[in-house]
C-alpha cells in the first residue's frame, strides 16, 4: 500500500523546526500523563502535544456546571468532534463504509486528561489467563477455530502485577482483594490473579440494588464481590502526594468530569506532579499529523504537528510516545507508514489487525414497591460476579472461549439517557410517558460485560473516500460480532437473567445482544487492537515493551496493544502496560537505545 499523502490541507506550508527534546508524547490523556511522569522522573525533558485544550476541575467541571446532561453527553462537549475527525464504518468487507457523522457506540475523548476525565472508573485487572489466551485455551480445549486470530500478549500477569499495583495506588481504587499473594480472601473476587496487597481504599458503600444482587447471586452459589472503583470511598492521598476527596454518589460520572476531585483522572492524580516539573512542556490545541521516520527506517526523528493558529511545526525527539487513544494511535501509525498495514484477504501485515470490542447485554429488573433511586449512584458503584469470566468455568463443548463479568452497577438516573420501560410499552405517547414515570425510580440494571475475540475479518485501515478536516483519509472500521461473541453472550446472558429473577422485582426485561454490530447505540468506549503487541514482528506491531518492531524509538500505548479484548474494562491493564513499558525504557532502553527484543 502506498504511503498516504501527508500534506495537510492548510494554506500554510512553512514548517517551523523546533529544538529537539528527549521525549515527545502524542496525546495527554491517561497514558500520556503516566508516561510524562515516568520520563520526567528519569530526568528526561518531555514535550506533550495535545489536540484539545487545557482542562481543570474548577474551570471545566465545577459542581455548579458538571451535572449538565444535555451539554456533556448529548452535545458531546468533551468528546472529539466528528467534524474534525471521525471514522468510517461498515460491518463487513463487501459493504461500503460510511462516516460516523455523530458519535454513538463509543465516545473518544479530546482535551487534557483524554477520556480519563469522563470515564466511569470501573477498574479491573485482566485475568492471568487472558494474557496467554492462545496457549492457555489451546492447551485446555485444542486448536483455536480457523479465522480466529487470538494471540498471547507476550507479557505475563506476574510481570505486570507490580504495575497494576502502582496504578491502583495512583488512583486510590476502592475495592476488596480476593487473592493476596495466592491466599483467597473472603469477600473479594476468588478468581482474580494474585495481588501483592489489598486495595488502597475499602469498597464503596453499596445500595439497595447491590444488596439484592448479592443475595440472589449467593443463592445461586456464585461469588459476588464489590466492583473495583476509581470513585473514592474515602479521602485519599496517593504516592505523589495528590489528594482526592470522598465520592458524593452524584450520579454524573461517565461522560462527565467530576467536580469533587472524587474520581481518579489524570487531573486528580498525576498531572499536578507533571506540571510542577520544569523539564516539562505541554502544547495544547495542537494536533500531531504524523510521526517522522528517519530515512534509514529504523527510527523516528520526531513528530509534525499543527496548532490552532494554523502553524505547522516539526518537533524532533529522541523518543516518540504515541498515547493518542487506540483509534487515533492506530491511525497515526497508518498515516506515518510505520509497520505494514494489515490486509484481511492475505492475512499479511499488522497495523490495524485484530480490532476487537466488547460484547454487552443487560437485564432490567422492575419493582412495584421498592425504590432503586438510581440518581444515588456512582460510576463504579456495583457488585460483580466473575464466575463466568475468562476461563473461570469449563468451556468444554460450549463452542466459545472467554467470558464476561455480570455486574449490578448503579451509575445514574440521568433522565434523557436512562428511562427504561418494560417489554411491550410503546416508544412514545401517553402510555410511554406513564410507564416512564412508574419505572423511573424503580429499576435495577444488570450488565453482562463480554470479552471479544479477534477474527481475521475485523480490522482497521484507511478509508479510500472520506477525509478529515485536513483532507487526509479517515480510518475505516470493518467490524461485526463473531460466532464466538454470539455463543458467549447467549450462554452468559441467561445466567444474568436468573440472578435478575432472584432480585425480587415484578418483572424483568432482557436486552440481549442480537443482530449485526450497530454503531448507533452507546455500548462502551473499549476499542481494542490495531497496534497489537506480541512475540514477533510478523504478528504484531509492538513487542512486549510496546516498542515498535520497525522504529525502535516509537512506543505505542493504549488498548491498541491488546491482541483481543477480555471480559473487563480496559484501563487498569492499559495503565499497567504503560508502566511496564516505562520501566523498560528507563532501565534498558536509555542505556542502550535499540530494539529491546530481537526479531
Amino acid at each position: 500500500m502506498d504511503r498516504p499523502d501527508l500534506a495537510p490541507n492548510t494554506r500554510e506550508t512553512r514548517v517551523e523546526k523546533l529544538p529537539s527534546v528527549d521525549v515527545v508524547i502524542i496525546g495527554f490523556g491517561w497514558t500520556g500523563s503516566i508516561m510524562a511522569q515516568q520520563m520526567l522522573e528519569a530526568g528526561l525533558n518531555v514535550v506533550a502535544i495535545e489536540r484539545g485544550g487545557w482542562r481543570d476541575t474548577p474551570t471545566d467541571f465545577a459542581p455548579t456546571m458538571a451535572p449538565d446532561e444535555l451539554r456533556y453527553y448529548w452535545r458531546h462537549e468533551m468528546f472529539q468532534e466528528t467534524a474534525r475527525e471521525t471514522l468510517t464504518f461498515r460491518n463487513n468487507i463487501s459493504q461500503t463504509a460510511l462516516p460516523m457523522r455523530k458519535w454513538g457506540s463509543f465516545l473518544p475523548g479530546s482535551g487534557v486528561g483524554g477520556a480519563g476525565v469522563h470515564w466511569n472508573g470501573q477498574t479491573f485487572r485482566f485475568l492471568p489467563s487472558d494474557f496467554v489466551a492462545k496457549t492457555h485455551n489451546e492447551e485446555r480445549y485444542g486448536p483455536l477455530p480457523t479465522g480466529m486470530t487470538v494471540q498471547d500478549y507476550g507479557v505475563t500477569y506476574d510481570e505486570l502485577e507490580p504495575h497494576f499495583d502502582t496504578f491502583e495506588k495512583l488512583c486510590g481504587i476502592s475495592g476488596k482483594a480476593g487473592n493476596i499473594n495466592g491466599e483467597i480472601v473472603e469477600g473479594g473476587n476468588p478468581f482474580e490473579g494474585w495481588r501483592s496487597s489489598e486495595y488502597p481504599n475499602p469498597p464503596m458503600e453499596m445500595t439497595f440494588t447491590q444488596h439484592r444482587f448479592e443475595e440472589a447471586a449467593r443463592g445461586m452459589g456464585l461469588n459476588p464481590f464489590p466492583g473495583p472503583s476509581a470513585n473514592m470511598s474515602r479521602a485519599y492521598t496517593n504516592q505523589h502526594g495528590i489528594s482526592l476527596a470522598p465520592c458524593t454518589y452524584c450520579g454524573f460520572c461517565e461522560k462527565f468530569g467530576c467536580g469533587n476531585y472524587s474520581k481518579a483522572s489524570p487531573q486528580t492524580t498525576i498531572i499536578p506532579v507533571v506540571m510542577r516539573n520544569p523539564n516539562f512542556t505541554l502544547r495544547t490545541n495542537s494536533e500531531v499529523l504524523h510521526i517522522n521516520k528517519h530515512p534509514d527506517g529504523t527510527r523516528a526523528t520526531g513528530v509534525t504537528y499543527i496548532d490552532a493558529d494554523g502553524r505547522t511545526f516539526e518537533q524532533p525527539a529522541e523518543i516518540v510516545i504515541v498515547a493518542a487513544y487506540q483509534l487515533q494511535s492506530t491511525r497515526l501509525m497508518l498515516l506515518s507508514g510505520i509497520g505494514q498495514p494489515y490486509d484481511p484477504r492475505s492475512g499479511e501485515g499488522v497495523v490495524g489487525k485484530n480490532y476487537t470490542y466488547q460484547v454487552m447485554s443487560s437485564i432490567n429488573v422492575f419493582y412495584d414497591e421498592e425504590y432503586t433511586n438510581n440518581f444515588v449512584g456512582a460510576g463504579a458503584l456495583g457488585m460483580i460476579v466473575d464466575d463466568y469470566n475468562g476461563d473461570n468455568f469449563d468451556h468444554s463443548g460450549l463452542g466459545f472461549i472467554g467470558g464476561a463479568y455480570i455486574g449490578a452497577w448503579t451509575t445514574n438516573a440521568r433522565p434523557i439517557e436512562s428511562h427504561p420501560v418494560p417489554e411491550g410499552v410503546p416508544e412514545w405517547g401517553s402510555e410511554w410517558k406513564r410507564s416512564v414515570r412508574q419505572n423511573f425510580l424503580k429499576t435495577a440494571s444488570i450488565s453482562v460485560h463480554g470479552a471479544s475475540m479477534a477474527y481475521r475479518q475485523n480490522y482497521l485501515d484507511l478509508d479510500p473516500t472520506y477525509t478529515d478536516h485536513w483532507g487526509r483519509p479517515l480510518m475505516r472500521m470493518t467490524y461485526d460480532f463473531t460466532v464466538n461473541d454470539r455463543r458467549l453472550t447467549n450462554h452468559i446472558t441467561p445466567i444474568a437473567e436468573e440472578i435478575a429473577r432472584g432480585m425480587g422485582g415484578r418483572e424483568v426485561k432482557v436486552n440481549s445482544r442480537e443482530g449485526a454490530y450497530d454503531s448507533v447505540p452507546y455500548q462502551t468506549t473499549h476499542n481494542t487492537g490495531g497496534t497489537i503487541m506480541g512475540q514477533n514482528p510478523s504478528e504484531s506491531v509492538v513487542n512486549r515493551y510496546l516498542q515498535s518492531w520497525d522504529c525502535h524509538n516509537v512506543f505505542v500505548m493504549g488498548a491498541g496493544a491488546f491482541p483481543q479484548n477480555a471480559g473487563y474494562n480496559p484501563t487498569d491493564t492499559v495503565a499497567a502496560l504503560a508502566y511496564f513499558s516505562a520501566d523498560a525504557i528507563r532501565n534498558q532502553y536509555l542505556q542502550n537505545p535499540g530494539p529491546m527484543v530481537q526479531a
Partner: protein, 252 residues
C-alpha cells in the same frame, strides 16, 4: 518559543484574523497554548467554562414550523391526566433554540459527502441535512402531504388521532417523500422532544422542572451521601436546576 512565562498565549491577535479551513478545524475559541512545567498551575480566576444555553432571541423556526413542532411533540409527550407533557415543558422553545445554535447547524458533526442512497441500519445518521435544515425540509414535506391528503389542513390543524396516525406512518416508513429522509427526521424529533422534556431548564425546555418533578428526578444536587442506605424507600425532594430553584430566590 522559549519565553519563560508560565502561560504563553501564542499569537492571540493572529488567531483573531484567521478564517476558513483552519478555524473550522478546531473548536471555537481554541487557542494553541504552551504551558511550561515548574510554574503555577495554569488556572485562571473567573474563567469558568459556562455552557451555551441559547437566548430568548435565538430562533430558527417560522411561526408555521413552530406550530408543527408544538403539535408533533405534544403527541410524543402528551399533556394528560397523568401529568405534564411537551407543552408544559415548552419543548418547542427548547428545540427552537437548539436549532438556532451550533447543534442546528450540525457544526460539530461530520457533514462531508458523499451521501450515498444505500445505507445500512448500523451506520446511523447519514442525512446531508444538518438538524435545522432537516426540520425545515421535513416539516414542509409533511405539511404538504397533509394539505394534499387531509383536505388542505396542515399537520397542526389535524385531530390528535390523525396526527398520531401520521407520525406512526412516518416512523414505520409507510409515509415517504422522495428526497426527504422523514424517518430520520422522526427519530431526531423524538430525541429532541425527550431532551426538551428532561434537559436542565437553562436550555429553555423542562420549564419549571416539570419533567423532573413528574418522574421524581432531583436534578443537579450533586451529593447523595446521606441517602445511600435508602434500602428501597422513596426519597422525596424537590428538583434543583443548575440555576437553582424558585424557593431559593429571594422575594423582590
Amino acid at each position: 518559543m522559549g519565553g519563560r512565562t508560565d502561560l504563553t498565549r501564542r499569537a492571540f491577535l493572529r488567531h483573531t484574523l484567521l478564517a476558513g479551513t483552519v478555524l473550522a478545524g478546531f473548536p471555537t475559541l481554541a487557542l494553541a497554548r504552551e504551558y511550561r512545567g515548574g510554574h503555577q498551575w495554569p488556572w485562571e480566576s473567573g474563567r469558568a467554562d459556562v455552557p451555551h444555553y441559547g437566548l430568548e432571541t435565538d430562533t430558527f423556526l417560522t411561526i408555521g414550523e413552530r406550530q408543527f413542532v408544538d403539535a408533533a411533540t405534544a403527541r410524543l409527550i402528551p399533556s394528560d391526566d397523568d401529568g405534564p407533557g411537551a407543552r408544559e415543558a415548552d419543548v418547542v422553545t427548547f428545540i427552537d433554540r437548539q436549532l438556532a445554535g451550533f447543534y442546528g447547524r450540525g457544526q460539530r458533526w461530520y457533514m462531508k459527502g458523499p451521501f450515498p442512497e444505500d445505507v445500512l441500519d448500523t451506520q446511523g445518521y447519514q442525512s446531508e441535512y444538518p438538524p435545522a435544515d432537516l426540520y425545515r425540509v421535513s416539516i414542509a414535506a409533511i405539511d404538504e402531504w397533509c394539505a394534499q391528503n387531509r383536505d388542505g389542513r396542515s399537520f397542526a390543524d389535524l385531530e390528535e388521532a390523525e396526527q398520531d396516525e401520521i407520525l406512526t406512518m412516518i416512523e414505520e416508513e409507510e409515509l415517504t417523500v422522495t428526497g426527504v429522509p422523514l424517518a430520520t427526521f422522526f427519530s431526531l424529533l423524538h430525541d429532541n422532544a425527550i431532551e426538551g422534556f428532561f434537559a436542565d431548564p437553562i436550555y429553555g425546555g423542562n420549564r419549571d422542572m416539570v419533567g423532573w418533578a413528574y418522574v421524581g428526578f432531583p436534578g443537579a444536587r450533586y451529593d447523595y451521601r446521606d441517602y445511600i442506605a435508602h434500602n428501597g424507600q422513596a426519597i422525596v425532594m424537590p428538583p434543583v436546576s443548575l440555576m437553582g430553584r424558585p424557593g431559593w430566590t429571594a422575594e423582590r
